[in-house]
Amino acid sequence: MTRKRSLIGSLTAVFALTGILAGCGGNNNAGSGGAATPPSGSAATTAPAATAAEVQKVNFSIVSARPGDEAFYKEQMDIFMKANPEVKVTVIANPTEQYNNALQLSFAANEGPDIFFIEGGQPQARTVYDNKWVEPLDSYIDDAFVARFPEGAFSRTSQTRVNGEVIGIPVRDPRFDKVRPLYYNKTILEQYGYSEPPKTHSEFVAAATKITKEGKGQVYGFAMMGKAPAVFGLSVSGLGSGLEGGVIGYEGNTIINLKTGQFSAKSATPVVEILRQLNAQKIVAPGWENWDTAQMHQQFAAGRVAMFIGAAWQAEEIRKLNDGMDMGIAAAPVPDAGRSGYRDTPTIAEPRYAMSAQSKSKEGAWKVLDFLGSVEFERANYEYAKELVLMPAAMEGIAMSADMEQIVKVMDETIRMAPAVNTNNQNYDQFSKSISDAMPKPKIQEVFLKAVVSNEDPVALAEDYDAKANKVIDEQIKIANNGGIDFSREDLKYPDWNPMENYIIE
C-alpha cells in the first residue's frame, strides 16, 4: 500500500512538474482564466482615479487577428475611460483560431466577459443567441443611437437581429467582403485598343479573346483562380452578379432562387458556359487551374494578365507587388441584355460587439457599447484597420486611396440587400448547417469548376445537381420538422421581393 502511494505520489509530482513547465512556456493570454484574472498589464490603466464603490469593472473580450489589434483596443478603451472614469475596462485578447473556444469555456465556467466579439458571421451570431450568452440590446438603443447608422442597420432583415432582437453593435460595412470587382490593367487594354473596361459579357469575351490571341503567349486577356472551388467562385459570382434577379448565393454551395424557394444552380450556368468557352479556346492564362490568389497577384502585377475578377482586399496586395501599375477597378460585366439582378447581401450590418447576459455591470457595458457605436470609434477603426465602416461620417476628411474609392463605387453599383434564406423563418438557422453538410458531393462550385476545366456542359450538370440538392433540402426540412422545428419550403419564398431594389423591412 505504501509502495502504491509512493508510486502515485511520484507520478503526481511529475505531472505537476510537467504542467508547471508547460505553463512557464505558454501564452498566458488565453481562455477564461484570463477573464477572471487578467495578466498584469492587460488592463488599460490610464483612467483617472475613481473610488472603488463607483467603479464598474467591464471585461471586453476581443479577437486579435492582427498584431496591432490588442494595442488599438486598449488605446480606444483608455480614451473611453478618460471620459467615463466610473468604468474600468479590461481588454482580453485571443487569437482568431482560439477565440470561439475560449469564449465557450468562459461562458461554461460562468466567467464570460461583459462585452465580446461575435466572430464567425451569422452562424456564430445564432450560436451566441441560442446559448443565451447575449443580452438583447433593444431596451438600450434609442432612435438617436439608430440614427447614427445607415438605413436598415437595425431593421428586421438586418443580421444585427436574431429572432427579432438586436444582439450586437455593427462596425464595418459587410459589402467590402461581398463585392467582386473586375480588375484590369489599363495599359494592356489601351495597347489592344480598349479605352475602357468591358461592360457586358460579349464585350468581355471579345476583349479577352483579342488580347490573348494578339498577345502571343506574352499577355493573356483573362485569368481565373482555380486552385480551390471557393476562389473559382469569385469569377462566377462576379460575372453572375447581373444575372437572373432573385437568386442568391452564386459563390457558395447553396444557390437558392428566393422567388421559387428552389435550389437553382442552373441559373448560374450562363456565366459558367462563358468561362468554359474561354478555357476551351485557350483564352484563359495557362495554369490558372492551379492558381490561388497569390499567383494571380504575381501574374497580374507582372503585366501578364489583362483582367480578372476578384475580391476587394486584393487591390492592396497587388499594389504591394507593383505600386506603379496602371490598375483599374470596375464593376464586373453584366449580361448583354442588361442587369437583371445584383450581387446579394442579406444585410448592410453584421453584429460585432455584444453584451453578455451574465454581465454584472450591464450599465457600464452599455456605456462601452455606446462608445463602440460612435462616430469617433468608427473613425478610429477606419484609420487603424483601413476597412470600410458603416458610418459615412466616420470616413469624411480622411484621404481614401483611388483604389478604395473605385471599390466603394463598385459596391454601390453592384450590391443590393436581398432577403436572407432565414428572413421569413429564423428556425432555418437551427438546421442550415445540416443542409449545407448534406448537399451532394462534389459541391456545386466544384461541379462548375470541373465543367470549365474538363469542358463539360454545365447545364446538364447543374440540372442534375439541382434535382439532388432540392431532394436534400426536402429531406432536411422533414428531419427538422420531425425534431420539432417548424419550417416549410414556403418559408424560402419571397414573391414580393423586387431584386432590383434593397430589401429592407423595418
Binding site: 493573356y220 454551395n253 492564362a285 490561388d292 501578364r304 448547417k433 453538410d437 462534389p442
Partner: protein, 327 residues
C-alpha cells in the same frame, strides 16, 4: 547493490515464500524506477500527442462535431456511411495508394539499379553521387513543392521557358493545371525527392553479400546480368521485403508535397486522403469544420492501410517459410 549491478535470480525453492504476482511487479518497478522515470516524459508526450488523439478521433468519428465545445450530437455510423458514399474520398484513396505503389513499383527497382552501380568500388566519385542523390531526401518537402510549382508554371516557369526556347514545344505544358498531367507530375517529383532513401537501403543490403559469391560466379563463367539475377536478387530478397514495406508505408502520406504543389487540384485530380481530411477538418467548404467526419475518413483509411500491411506481412511470412523449406 549498485545500480546496474547484475543480480542472480533466487530460485523459488530457496526457502522463502514465493511473492505474489502483484508484489513481484511492484518489486520490479521499484528496482527499475530510474528507467521508468527517464522514460516517463516520453510516455507523457506520447500519450498526450499520439495516443490520445488516436483514441479521441475514434470517439469524435461518431459525432457531428464542428470542434467548438464538446461533441454532443451523436450520429452513430453516420460519418462513416457519408465517407464511404463519397466518390471524392475513394478517388483520394486511390490516389494515395497510387503514390505508394508508384514508389514500390518504379522507385524501388530504379533505386536498386542505381545502388548496384554505386556499389561498384571502382566507380570514381561514387560517394559524391550518393550524396547528390540523397540531398533531396533531407530537403524540406514544402520548399521543394513550392520551388517545383514555380519551375513548372506554364506562365513564366523556368522549365516551360526552356522547352519553348529550345523549340521542343510550341505552347507551354500545363504540368500542374491539367487533370491528366498533374498527378504524374506530382509522382515524378515525389519519386525524385525520396529516391535516396531506398537507394541507401539497397546499398546497405548489397554490402552484406559476400564478394566471394561473385568471384565464384565469374570463375564459373556467369555474366554480370546472370550474377545480378542469380546472386544479387535472391540475396537481397529478405531485406527487399522490409524495404518494400517501409517504402510503401512512408509514401502513403504525401500530404506536404500535394498541399504545396496542387492542394489536391485541379478539381481534386491529385487529392489524397490527407488533403481530403485536412479540407474537412480545417478548410471546410461549408464554412464550419467537420472534425467528426474528418476523423471517420482518417479511421477508414487507417483500417485499409492496416489490412494492406497485414497482407504484406503474411505474404512475407509465407515467402520466408517457402525460402526456408527450399534451403
Amino acid at each position: 547493490m549498485g545500480y546496474g549491478t547484475p543480480q542472480q535470480s533466487i530460485p523459488a525453492s530457496a526457502g522463502k515464500a514465493p511473492l505474489s504476482k502483484r508484489a513481484e511487479l511492484f518489486k520490479q518497478i521499484k528496482k527499475h524506477r530510474y528507467h521508468y522515470l527517464f522514460v516517463l516524459p516520453m510516455l507523457v508526450f506520447f500519450a498526450a500527442f499520439t495516443l490520445w488523439p488516436m483514441i479521441a478521433s475514434w470517439y469524435y468519428s461518431f459525432f457531428n462535431w464542428d470542434g467548438i465545445g464538446w461533441p454532443t450530437d451523436f450520429i452513430g455510423l453516420g460519418n462513416f456511411r457519408e465517407v464511404a458514399s463519397d466518390p471524392g474520398f475513394w478517388s483520394a484513396f486511390m490516389n494515395t495508394f497510387l503514390f505508394a505503389l508508384t514508389h514500390v513499383l518504379i522507385q524501388m527497382p530504379l533505386a536498386l539499379i542505381v545502388a548496384v552501380i554505386l556499389n561498384n568500388q571502382f566507380l570514381a566519385g561514387r560517394n559524391v553521387y550518393r550524396l547528390l542523390l540523397f540531398v533531396p531526401v533531407i530537403s524540406t518537402t514544402a520548399v521543394i513543392g513550392v520551388i517545383f510549382s514555380i519551375l513548372l508554371n506554364p506562365l513564366g516557369g523556368a522549365i516551360n521557358e526552356m522547352l519553348l526556347g529550345t523549340g521542343l514545344i510550341n505552347e507551354p505544358i500545363n504540368f500542374l493545371g491539367s487533370t491528366t498531367l498533374a498527378l504524374p507530375t506530382l509522382l515524378a517529383v515525389s519519386v525524385w525527392k525520396s529516391f535516396g532513401t531506398p537507394m541507401i537501403y539497397w546499398l546497405a543490403g548489397l554490402q552484406t553479400i559476400p564478394g566471394e559469391l561473385y568471384e565464384a560466379a565469374k570463375i564459373d563463367g556467369a555474366s554480370k546480368v546472370q550474377s545480378f539475377f542469380r546472386i544479387t536478387v535472391p540475396m537481397l530478397a529478405p531485406i527487399g521485403l522490409v524495404i518494400t514495406l517501409l517504402t510503401f508505408i512512408n509514401n502513403l502520406d504525401p500530404f506536404d508535397l500535394v498541399r504545396t504543389m496542387t492542394e489536391g487540384g485541379p478539381v481534386k485530380a491529385t487529392d489524397v486522403v490527407q488533403t481530403y481530411i485536412f479540407r474537412y477538418a480545417f478548410e471546410p467548404e461549408s464554412g464550419s469544420s467537420r472534425y467528426g467526419f474528418a476523423s471517420a475518413a482518417g479511421i477508414l483509411f487507417s483500417l485499409a492501410v492496416l489490412v494492406v500491411v497485414i497482407i504484406q506481412a503474411l505474404t512475407g511470412k509465407v515467402a520466408r517459410r517457402s525460402g526456408t523449406k527450399g534451403a
